[in-house]
């Protein structure tokens, strides 16, 4: 177990985790150890996918990196700065729609600028530019409920991009979309990622998604979530997801995950059967 919290890392690294852990409701009867011993370095511009069974704490880690929750163990840095509070440098995109329903699309996208008190012209210009990048400039004046699920997530991406983040944190952003839309959104995300130069940390439980997107796949164990292994993927992009290489990656990741799911099942059975 790493208790060494001294920052042995390059200050250029987008995200650095040292001995990070999280216990929810610590000190109470409902205390739940969600995450333990996370040591991870993410390079600038890297695409890292967190893969693991549901409830393994991978989303928790994302919230810790975003600064929305405090780690109960260890420390995190982003570009040399200790992560203590949320920052516009690290934008989080959620699974469910998180657009403000009472604002138009462009107002949603420029929300962060309005927080800083930017003028309307400036906000509209930035919003138009960000929406251009996600191919939704024509929908600027619509309201979120007029858009499809995929469009809404693209707007959420545009809103994150408008902040010019160095790290994009994505919590199963395409999980609520149908398979075809999801495949298209993955291509779209890769384009956005390439253009923005930001690091992406992407949470999913879909193996296909991990193979399609990641530079590195971080596979999690469950209860508490630990890093089981990190699988690098050096397939060139655009990737042929039907290639032999992709297939063998899928098999490898499936095997890694199956152990975890089996373990989780065994634990649940132990729960269910009275001693």
């Amino acid at each position: 177990m790493s208790s060494d919290n001294a920052p042995h890392f390059s200050s250029r690294d987008a995200v650095v985790c040292r001995g990070v852990g999280k216990t929810w409701a610590a000190g109470t009867k409902r205390a739940h150890h969600a995450l333990a011993d996370i040591n991870l370095d993410v390079a600038p511009g890297e695409f890292v996918v967190f893969l693991g069974p549901s409830g393994c704490g991978k989303s928790t880690l994302l919230y810790l990196i975003a600064g929305l929750e405090d780690a109960t163990e260890g420390r995190l840095w982003s570009f040399g700065d200790l992560v203590e509070t949320p920052s516009p440098q690290r934008s989080l995109i959620f699974q469910e729609t998180s657009l403000f329903p009472w604002l138009t699309v462009w107002e949603n996208v420029s929300f962060g600028l309005s927080i800083r008190g930017a003028s309307k012209e400036e906000r509209r210009t930035v919003a138009a530019e960000a929406l251009q990048r996600v191919g939704l400039k024509a929908a600027m004046d619509k309201r979120p409920d007029e858009l499809s699920g995929g469009m809404r997530q693209r707007v959420a991406v545009a809103r994150a991009l408008a902040m010019r983040p160095k790290v994009l944190l994505m919590d199963e952003p395409f999980a609520a979309l149908d398979v075809q839309t999801r495949a298209r959104m993955q291509e779209f995300l890769l384009d956005v990622w390439r253009d923005s130069g930001a690091s992406v940390l992407f949470v999913t439980h879909h193996i296909d998604e991990a193979v399609a997107l990641a530079d590195r796949v971080v596979v999690f164990t469950s209860r508490p979530g630990r890093i089981k292994t990190i699988v690098p993927i050096d397939m060139p992009r655009p990737r042929n997801l039907f290639s032999r290489e992709a297939e063998s990656l899928r098999i490898q990741l499936t095997d890694l995950l199956r152990d975890e799911v089996d373990r989780a099942f065994a634990e649940q059975e132990a729960f269910a059967v009275p001693a």
Binding site: P86, P88, S98, F111, S114, I115
Partner: protein
């Protein structure tokens, strides 16, 4: 980009004209919907009145005690004499002077409506303000919430003497009664609404560097508006009930006072006539509030249809 085709008018496919065409279509549909709703409302009331009349015709309902609609609505001029009694009974004023019967009903109704309206506004502003402050400042929460919870179950009737002690007679005690009857519940409802705001929305604002004040003003307050208007609507009826109690104790004039008068003079016709007027006023008020709700909450889809398919 997929935009749902709303109406297939050729030549207006340009994005700019689409909202106009859609709103025209929706306006025409809303018009029909409106007619149908009036039709059903009339049918509903007729059915109720019809049953009552039937009971009267069969001799089950004594017209001295339960006069059916055709009797208590028969002589509006006669009933109207009892309205706006404050001006009519002023010293030196004869029974034939002053506003006409119809005007009296209008004045009395308007006076009661105004009390409900003012009370409702004051109660909502206070309750939302206090509710937000309670969640905003932990210290305020600890200091104030126990008392508010303690006073919440107290019946408005119990506040009646207090209203009179504090404000004597006139508009003030009636408005006070409305405010006090709604305020505590609405504070608790506000807190409940704040607690159920989607955490993602708050987190988005946090990652964008919003301050606590900005999160409250830009996210939480707009997010609780739909729920608060719903709460307001539910409390509207409460306000109508309370205002009658308050008015029955010497406000001067108002629907509550007419009811008391009818009770004291054993005039069932006047009771039912007043109830009918109150019903119409309350119904109209509710309808206006729903209209305002749709205007203010433009972003909410109409969800009533969702249950119809079951």
């Amino acid at each position: 980009m997929a935009v749902v085709a709303r109406d297939g008018e050729p030549g207006v496919a340009a994005a700019a004209s689409r909202p106009a065409a859609a709103s025209r279509l929706m306006a025409s549909m809303a018009g029909l919907d409106w007619l149908a709703r009036i039709w059903w409302a009339l049918l509903s009331i007729s059915l109720f009145a019809g049953l009552w009349e039937l009971c009267w015709a069969l001799g089950w309902a004594d017209e001295k005690l339960l006069p059916p609609p055709h009797i208590f609505l028969d002589n509006i001029a006669e009933q109207g004499r009892y309205f706006n009694t404050a001006t009519r009974w002023q010293v030196g004023q004869s029974m034939t002077e002053g506003p006409s019967a119809f005007e009296s009903v209008l004045i009395t109704g308007a006076a009661t409506t105004a009390r409900v309206f003012v009370g409702l506004i004051i109660a909502s502003v206070l309750a939302i303000g206090v509710g937000v402050l309670i969640r905003y400042y932990r210290f305020f929460d600890r200091l104030v919430l126990p008392t508010i919870t303690l006073l919440s179950p107290v019946s408005p009737i119990a506040w009646l003497p207090v209203a009179i002690f504090l404000f004597g007679i006139g508009n003030a005690p009636a408005i006070f009664m409305v405010v006090v009857a709604l305020f505590f519940h609405m504070v608790l409802a506000t807190i409940n609404q704040i607690d159920t705001v989607n955490t993602n929305l708050i987190n988005v604002a946090r990652t964008m560097g919003a301050s606590k004040a900005q999160i409250y003003s830009r996210v939480i307050v707009p997010a609780i508006l739909p729920g608060m208007l719903q709460v307001l609507r539910m409390n509207l009826f409460g306000a109508w009930m309370v205002v009658l109690v308050a008015e029955s104790t010497g406000v001067g004039y108002g629907m509550g006072q007419v009811i008391m008068l009818a009770r004291n003079t054993f005039n069932p016709s006047l009771v039912f006539f007043t109830i009918a007027v109150i019903g119409v006023l309350g119904f109209t008020f509710d309808w206006l509030l729903r209209l305002a709700q749709r205007r203010i909450l433009y972003w909410l889809p109409d969800t009533a249809e969702r249950l119809r398919v079951l």
